[in-house]
């Protein structure tokens, strides 16, 4: 599907031809390519209109590399400019030297999935002019405190290098990186046309750093701080946006803790007519929210502050009125501490909502059901387990467009269930919502029967993350392992890309995953499996595996070393509290020079560092940048021969 042949037939004259692109993700209906050409002459007047194509290198269909090379460069550049998916762009650059060179010159958007897989100099040497950069740092398990503070992923060296090489940089998106105030100040200083800053799950900066952004980025369109840890020194950084600053389109400061000076926020909203997305923090009270919403009826995405206050009829009316005028509002979030009496103010906006995040709202099931009954067009719902099975059943019958469901635990540390939410809720949604693709579900019991029902009802699932809160929790009906259930998920959901498992599962499930999980890209495991065989099944069977993260599983050296070369085809592997030995890590590091094998010992270096000593955390990732120079003293990178093992940076100093 979606094949566009770039090239001409050898040895014949090409008539103006029509190439039809069938399906494919760029939805181009047809392309006319008018060329006349004979084998040895230059291509003349290659005029063509390209509406967006998916380029695919097709061999043996009368296409010649030589012909491709004599394609005018501008033509190739023009065609390539439509190829914007990162994966496709990378493939394009591998076709031949000319295409690699062209990509070097004209690539503008860059995605770096692991900041240590490359280095700033490698990037700046290769690409001529980057305008948009996305970098991811710490491994995913850092979100759950499994990666010690100080591990790395510093943004400053990247920003400094980009500042020198790409002063035209406009967009920076960082995830799980340590961003200092100095780094933020540098952004304000170096990039004249800076437009987009998104910091997701980052830390290391304070509101002082935000002052620099507000004061210096005159063309800023997007400022989004998503679940980042910000040292909240001053709330009035927002007052530093100059009065002439009007370009803001998206502002997300929901993770900030301190009070914002409301007047400054109100003035900002007032003077930015293109503001489409506004997510304030908890400190903004309900009566102030009403003012903001009234001033910005063009919003498509709103994150409220506190949604509660004492009962005031005139405020109720004001809010309801404000929401009724938001004809473009599609996405709603925030909603901390909701007073149920104020929920009806949202009813007029509900029918248009496609995305609703109630995961911070401790609303009980009956009120949730009432609210959701108005949201017939919902595609994404994030909610607390207060919704209970009955609420999910109601959801399944009223929201037939639902694509993504996330149910979070209200009391994750309680061992006893505190609400009536079981596996039944998820089954109702899986059975009732034909478009369901993505699930994140916390619950306290599960059965193979339920999982099989989910799998057979909803083979369209692409992301399935199930967290049964009690580790090693068996099938509550049979008391046996949940192998069969999870096996059914991978077997029936043929497009499954992401899977997180929990509960009591044995090596058998990994056999099934290795056999069926051919599209699986990310797998998360905890307290699972019996032996190395489990890990071996996964590494040897899952062809498309990119990220594997494991904690507290009895997997050790053997499976790892046997499948060492597999690790070079993946972005990363994380293993903590498993059975990997120091000796095993040494061997892996020696065997695989293009992997960084990081042994992370939180409590300082193991006393003996004997070969049998088990490592606490292991992080293995492919890299072309070699061992990193910024590793802290509790991280050791295994490399080459023992005598050359990379010492922590302290030892390099005289």
């Amino acid at each position: 599907m979606g094949v566009f042949w770039v090239g001409v037939e050898i040895g014949s004259e090409l008539q103006p031809a029509q190439f039809q692109v069938l399906g494919g993700k760029y939805q181009a209906p047809s392309i006319e390519l008018g060329l006349s050409h004979s084998l040895r002459s230059e291509l003349q007047s290659a005029q063509f209109q390209v509406l967006g194509v998916k380029l695919r290198w097709v061999l043996g269909l009368g296409v010649s590399i030589r012909m491709i090379q004599s394609f005018p460069e501008e033509a190739l550049e023009h065609v390539l400019s439509f190829v914007d998916s990162h994966g496709d762009r990378n493939s394009v650059s591998l076709v031949c030297k000319t295409w690699y060179e062209t990509d070097r010159w004209c690539r503008r958007r860059l995605f770096i999935g692991n900041c240590y897989a490359v280095s700033p100099p490698i990037v700046t040497r290769r690409f001529w002019d980057i305008r948009s950069l996305t970098i991811k740092g710490k491994p995913h398990f850092a979100d759950y405190n499994l990666v010690p503070q100080g591990w790395g992923a510093h943004a400053l060296p990247w920003i400094a290098a980009m500042g020198e090489a790409y002063p035209g940089l406009e967009e920076l998106r960082l995830k799980r990186m340590v961003v200092s105030d100095e780094a933020l100040e540098l952004i304000g200083k170096c990039f004249r046309n800076f437009r987009v800053l998104v910091l997701c799950c980052c830390d290391g900066f304070s509101t002082d750093g935000l002052v620099s952004i507000a004061a210096n980025c005159r063309n800023l369109r997007v400022l989004e701080l998503i679940e980042s840890e910000v040292d909240d020194i001053r709330g009035n950084w927002i007052s530093h946006f100059p009065d002439c600053f009007t370009s803001l389109e998206s502002l997300n400061i929901s993770c900030l803790e301190s009070d914002l000076p409301f007047a400054a926020l109100e003035r900002l909203v007032d003077r930015c007519p293109n503001l489409k997305s506004l997510r304030v923090n908890r400190s903004v009270p309900l009566e102030k929210l009403a003012i903001l919403v009234r001033k910005a009826p063009q919003l498509t995405d709103l994150g409220t502050g506190l949604f509660m206050t004492d009962s005031r009829p005139e405020l109720h009316t004001k809010l309801a009125g404000a929401f009724s005028r938001c004809n473009e509002l599609k996405s709603l979030s925030g909603l901390w501490d909701v007073a149920p009496s104020y929920l009806p103010t949202l009813y007029s906006a509900c029918p248009r909502l496609t995305s609703l995040n109630l995961s911070y709202a401790p609303i009980q099931s009956p009120d949730l059901v009432k609210l959701l009954s108005h949201c017939k067009n919902l595609q994404r719902l994030w909610v607390l387990d207060y919704i209970e099975d009955r609420g999910l059943e109601a959801l399944a019958s009223s929201c037939k467009d639902l694509q993504e469901l996330r149910v979070f635990p209200s009391e994750p540390y309680d061992h006893e269930p505190n609400i009536a939410l079981t596996e039944q809720g998820l089954v109702s949604v899986a059975v009732g919502c034909p478009k369901l693709q993505s699930v994140l579900y916390f619950c306290r019991r599960m059965s193979n029967h339920a999982l099989v029902t989910i799998a057979t009802s909803r083979p369209t699932l692409t992301r399935f993350r199930l967290c049964i809160i009690e580790p090693l929790c068996p099938d509550y009906v049979t008391q046996g392992p949940l192998d069969e259930g999870f096996g059914a998920i991978v077997e029936h959901c043929k497009d499954l890309k992401r899977l997180s498992m929990s509960g009591f599962i044995t090596d058998r499930v990994f056999q099934l995953i290795g056999a069926h999980g051919k599209k699986l890209e990310m797998l998360s495991l905890a307290f699972a499996g019996n032996s190395d065989v489990g890990l071996h099944y996964v590494l040897s069977g899952c062809k498309n595996l990119k990220k594997l993260e494991i904690r507290d599983c009895p997997f050790g050296d053997r499976a790892l070393l046997f499948n060492a070369s597999k690790l070079e085809t993946m972005r990363s592997l994380w293993m903590s509290s498993c059975q990997v030995s120091y000796g095993g890590c040494q061997v892996l590091g020696e065997k695989m020079p293009r992997l960084n094998v990081e042994v992370i010992h939180e409590k300082g270096l193991p006393e003996s560092r004997s070969e049998q000593c088990l490592v606490e955390h292991l992080y293995v990732y492919r890299t072309v940048a070699g061992p990193r120079s910024d590793a802290p003293e509790f991280v050791w990178t295994m490399k080459d021969s023992p005598s050359m093992r990379c010492p922590p940076k302290e030892q390099l100093l005289p």
Binding site: Y144, N145, P148, E470, P471, A526, N530, C553, G604, P632
Partner: protein, 164 residues
């Protein structure tokens, strides 16, 4: 604490083996179970051989982000503060809501950082940015105003208190 109990051995599931809980010692030290400090003490007292599965919290389990833990309850819910120790390469976080008094907090800190010795003085940074000695103010006030905790080496403690 019998270290042998923390050894991981492979075996069929259900054989009473602490599979997956290699670092029981670490779990008990990390003391993350809200309000279940008593339960852990009971377990140690009776030296029960049953796997700690149901009763002891593991670090990072269940997988809920810190931002979610902090934000979920209104007001008196969760109150995570960073704890730094002079000379330690890493930080830890504690939830002040889990403790009802200075004694409980200090005991937990002592357990958490015992490998660094006992020659430390607990200090904290309050809302105004001043570094104070832990214990100066009533517990409730401390829990509300504490932003960060730092265990300082006794010999380094000089002139702590609100800036004049």
């Amino acid at each position: 604490m019998d270290l042998k109990e923390t050894e991981l051995t492979l075996g069929l599931p259900g054989a009473g083996v602490k599979r997956g809980f290699m670092d029981t010692l670490d779990l008990l030290k990390s003391n993350r179970s809200r309000g279940t400090t008593k339960r852990i003490d009971d377990q140690e007292a009776t030296s029960s051989p049953k796997p700690p599965a149901a009763k002891v919290q593991s670090v990072g389990w269940p997988p809920v982000r810190a931002s979610r833990k902090n934000a979920m309850k209104s007001g008196a819910g969760c109150n995570f503060v960073k704890v730094a120790v002079d000379g330690a390469p890493y930080l830890r976080k504690v939830d002040l809501e889990m403790y009802g008094s200075y004694e409980e907090l200090l005991k937990a800190l002592e357990e958490m950082f015992s490998c660094y010795g006992s020659d430390y003085v607990p200090t904290y940074e309050d809302k105004d940015g001043d570094w104070m000695m832990v214990g100066d103010v009533p517990w409730k006030m401390f829990a509300e105003t504490c932003k960060k905790i730092r265990l300082v080496k006794s010999c380094d403690v000089v002139g702590l208190g609100p800036k004049l």
